[in-house]
């Protein structure tokens, strides 16, 4: 199984994430979409790391390390995002992004 399969999965996951961000009305789904995009990226990191180095080579773990960082970041980001969502809910009494249009001001 070659690199292409991994990339295909990753691309699908990315597309799902994008669609989720753009079309879902609930902000929680939007967050999930973001997680999906991050994970699509993680797949790419790990896959490229695996295929760009010789089998069994332990000399380079950069890609995998990045994946782990991204996971940690995603966790932190999720926490912050949920906090923001809570505040948005307090403010607008809703969790729909379409109704929070303060950016326009």
């Amino acid at each position: 199984m070659g690199l292409g399969a991994y990339i295909a999965v990753s691309a699908a996951l990315f597309a799902l994430g994008i669609v989720a961000i753009l079309v879902r009305r609930n902000v929680l789904y939007v967050l999930m979409g973001i997680e999906m995009i991050l994970n699509a990226a993680n797949i790419n990191f790990v896959a490229f790391n695996r295929f760009n180095h010789a089998e069994g080579s332990q000399s380079n773990l950069d890609g995998r390390m990045f994946a782990i960082f991204v996971i940690i970041l995603a966790a932190a980001e999720a926490a912050v995002a949920l906090a923001i969502v809570l505040n948005v809910f307090h403010l607008f009494n809703s969790v729909k992004p379409a109704e929070a249009d303060l950016l326009r001001e």
């Binding site: 994008i18 961000i21 753009l22 079309v23 939007v30 992004p97 379409a98 929070a100 249009d101 303060l102 950016l103 326009r104 001001e105």
Partner: protein
């Protein structure tokens, strides 16, 4: 005893220091006086007078040394720089490429002429200081007066001692300044009435008129420096003689034009300072100064400096210049003498006489008679100083009346003054055995020698005829003055005269402090001031009194009749007539002792100055064995300019013995004849009683009415130059400018015209340029608004429109934005990949 060790031998090591001491003492006195004079007892007059006594003593001692040397046939020309290394380094300048080094410095130059002149200055100054103690006592600014005459003396001594033309000029100008300040002495003293107004203008006139001459002298100096690169007299003489000789050898019978021009410019200095025609105009007006000033500066010393200058520069003059000098001198002599016959003001007579006598001296030098001219300068200094001081004494005694018509009979009241004045008058008139005779005779002799000796020039002929004529006039007007003043009986108030009482010199009337209130007259002065013009018509019983009152009224109250109460005024010393007015009608009185002492010294010198040292006083008193006066023994071409130059100059004017003998006879006869004639006519007209003299004089003036008016109007030179000073006590405000049709008027017009040019042409041009600039500015402002601003605004409008379109995309919804971003990114990717 050898010549060197004799106590009268000149000792360079000591004597230059003594001379320097004599020179700086007046300066030291000046400084002390300015700094502390007011606080010293008697305002410091004793200090300056004793300082001047020391100076005079030194000058007399030094003069004795010069005579001693002359009688022993020793050369007496000393230069402190060469002999004792005493220099005053002024500055040093050089053009190392072209001209070499010019060290501009000064040193003392002491020769027989310097010795004689220095003695004259020292002695006259001392006498004037002494005189002033009596004359000026109790006047305002007494200490300043002493300071100024002291500084003047300093300047005059410096002028005599300078070894170069530049320093002579410096002291020359300094004297001009002191003359300005001293003529203007009364201009700070409102209580001096008439003099207050007169002096205000006279001092400016004097300075400016002489300044014209001074500028000429400066130019002359520059011209000679340009060619010779030196200011030192000895060098100038040597180089001039060489230049003349060189030029003669190339072009026989011609003289270098530049030397003639330069010489004429130098003579211009003399014309100004020695009041020669046509710049004589300042001297009569200089009489606005106090009488001691007139005596010293405007008779004995400063005006003689012009003649001294000619003596110092004689070798630098080409014959053409000398002819001009002779002609100008003769014109001045006749011209001033004729005016002198018409003057009524005692001091004016003497002023015109001074101008006339200066004309004699100048003419003499122009005729080649340097010794004669300088001799006359020395004798004249004494007798003219004596005449002026005597006149001052008379004026003082007559309560500041100066008009001779209001005098008369003063002889009885002031016998000593009369004696001194008469002696000096005889001297100036040219009676044998009085000093003036010797010098004036020498001048006339010189003229006749030139004619008879075949050195005939137009100027010589003119002088030979003109000078005796002037001498006759001199004898006439001097004795006219004596008769009018001293004979007959006292007649105050005969005519109206402006010389009313001024604050000066009333010390002997019993009130010592002049500047203070005198209640005795307060109401009187007040009563008058409103009707100042009525003062004359009120002159019922006491004419002199009325003049006093009217003058007072004009001066003190005329200009500001409002708001002055009597005591407010008195504080300013307007109580000139505050003392008992009856005292003023009292007879004249003899002057106090200092005045008389000064008079006697000068009268003695005035009488005997010509032949006092006919013989060598140290060896023999048998004066009849000597054919020459002391001056001739001491001063000659050789002793003045050195043997070599002197011989050449003497040869240029020498005549053969026969002609000389003839000329002697002629000159003697002419001198005696004109003097006797003048005195006789004066006696015929004025000597036989006042009433008769008025009748005769009236008839004569009526007969020659037109001529008389011209002469009395001083030939209207002042009017032509626009320098006439009109002091009208009745007018409150003087005209701002002098009359238009004159030199001064023209200058003022030029000044105003140039001022107009400045405002209306130069400034207008500037403003025009400014306006053009403004128009350009306005034009570009319009361009700015329409084109540039239009463009800028257009850009703004476009932006605005575009912005409002773009605004539509701004929904504020995150998801919409993200959609744009994704599709944008996709579009970009497509573009990158496909294209």
């Amino acid at each position: 005893m050898t010549a060197e060790s004799h106590f009268l031998a000149f000792d360079p090591a000591q004597d230059f220091k003594l001379l320097f001491l004599a020179f700086v003492l007046p300066l030291v006195g000046y400084v002390i006086q300015i700094a502390a004079g007011k606080r010293l007892p008697r305002q410091g007059d004793w200090l300056l007078t004793s300082g001047l006594f020391a100076t005079a003593s030194i000058t007399v001692l030094m003069f004795a040394k010069s005579l001693w040397a002359a009688y022993h046939g020793l050369e007496f020309r000393h230069h402190s720089g060469d002999e004792a290394g005493l220099w005053f380094h002024w500055f040093y300048s050089s053009d190392e490429l072209a001209n070499g080094v010019a060290n501009v410095s000064a040193a003392i130059f002491y020769d027989p002429l310097g010795a004689a002149m220095l003695m004259v200055v020292g002695v006259v100054s001392f006498c004037v200081h002494l005189f002033s103690i009596g004359y000026m006592h109790g006047t305002p600014r007494y200490h300043i007066f002493f300071a100024n005459i002291s500084l003047f003396t300093f300047a005059m001594l410096g002028l005599v001692l300078s070894d170069n033309l530049l320093f002579l000029f410096i002291f020359w100008e300094l004297m001009g300044l002191m003359s300005y300040l001293l003529i203007g002495h009364f201009s700070h003293d409102p209580s001096s009435g008439y003099f207050h107004k007169w002096a205000t203008k006279a001092c400016k006139k004097a300075f400016l008129t002489t300044r014209v001459g001074d500028t000429c002298l400066l130019v002359g100096m520059v011209i000679f420096f340009w060619k010779f690169e030196t200011f030192r007299f000895t060098e100038l003489w040597r180089l001039s003689i060489e230049e003349l000789a060189r030029h003669q050898s190339l072009h026989p019978g011609e003289y270098p034009l530049w030397m003639t021009v330069g010489g004429l410019f130098i003579f211009g200095g003399t014309i100004g300072k020695s009041a020669q025609f046509p710049l004589h105009i300042w001297l009569p007006d200089a009489m606005a100064g106090p009488t001691p000033v007139s005596a010293m500066i405007h008779a004995a010393t400063m005006v003689a400096a012009g003649v001294f200058l000619l003596g110092r520069c004689y070798p630098m003059f080409t014959p053409d210049v000398l002819n001009v000098i002779a002609a100008v001198g003769t014109i001045t002599a006749i011209f001033a003498a004729t005016i002198g016959t018409t003057a009524y003001d005692l001091k004016a007579v003497l002023a015109w006489s001074t101008i006339s006598q200066l004309g004699f001296m100048v003419a003499a030098i122009g005729l080649g008679g340097v010794v004669a001219g300088l001799f006359h300068m020395v004798t004249h200094a004494f007798f003219k100083a004596c005449l002026f001081l005597s006149a001052g004494s008379v004026i003082h005694g007559c309560h500041h009346e100066q008009d001779m018509r209001n005098m008369g009979g003063v002889r009885k009241h002031m016998p000593i003054t009369f004696a001194c004045m008469l002696a000096s008058t005889i001297a100036i008139a040219g009676i044998p055995f009085f000093s003036g005779f010797y010098s004036k005779d020498m001048i006339i002799l010189r003229a006749w020698e030139n004619i008879l000796g075949g050195r005939f020039t137009g100027a010589s002929f003119f002088a030979a005829v003109g000078l005796p004529l002037a001498a006759a006039c001199t004898a006439f007007y001097m004795f006219r003055m004596i008769f009018m003043t001293f004979s007959d009986s006292y007649r105050p108030g005969t005519v109206e005269s402006p010389f009313a009482h001024h604050g000066g010199g009333h010390d002997d009337h019993g009130h010592a402090d002049h500047g203070h209130a005198d209640h005795g007259h307060a109401d009187h002065g007040h009563a008058d001031h409103g009707h100042a013009d009525h003062g004359h018509s009120h002159a019922h019983a006491a004419p002199a009194h009325a003049h006093a009152a009217s003058a007072h009224g004009h001066d003190a109250h005329g200009h500001d009749a409002h708001g002055h109460d009597a005591h407010g005024h008195d504080a300013h010393g307007h109580d000139a007539h505050g003392h008992d007015s009856h005292a003023e009608h009292a007879t004249p009185h003899e002057s106090p002792l200092p005045i008389l002492v000064a008079l006697c010294i000068l009268a003695f010198l005035g009488v005997f100055g010509g032949h006092f040292w006919l013989a060598d006083p140290l060896h023999s008193l048998k004066f009849w064995e000597h054919a020459h006066t002391w001056f001739e023994t001491s001063v000659s071409f050789q002793s003045l300019y050195g043997a070599q130059i002197g011989d050449r100059l003497a040869a240029a004017v020498a005549v053969d013995e026969h002609a000389a003998h003839q000329a002697h006879t002629v000159a003697l006869c002419v001198s005696l004849a004109v003097a006797s004639l003048g005195i006789l006519v004066a006696w015929l007209i004025y000597g036989r009683g006042w009433e008769r003299s008025q009748r005769i004089a009236g008839r004569i003036t009526h007969a020659i009415h037109a001529i008389y008016e011209v002469v009395k109007g001083k030939y209207f030179v002042d009017e032509a130059l626009g320098t006439a000073i009109v002091v009208d006590m009745k007018r409150k405000d003087e005209p701002r400018y002098e009359p238009d049709a004159s030199v001064i008027g023209a200058s003022v017009h030029v000044a105003n015209f140039l001022g107009w040019i400045d405002r209306h042409v130069v400034d207008a041009t500037v403003n025009l340029v400014g306006r053009i600039g403004m128009s350009f500015g306005k034009g570009s402002a319009t361009f700015d608004r329409v084109v540039i601003d239009g463009a800028v605004n257009g850009v703004g409008l476009f932006t605005q429109t575009f912005g409002s379109l773009v605004r539509l995309f701004q929904s504020g919804r995150v998801q919409q934005y993200a959609t744009f971003a994704v599709f944008g990114g996709l579009a970009l990717a497509v573009w990158l990949i496909l294209l």
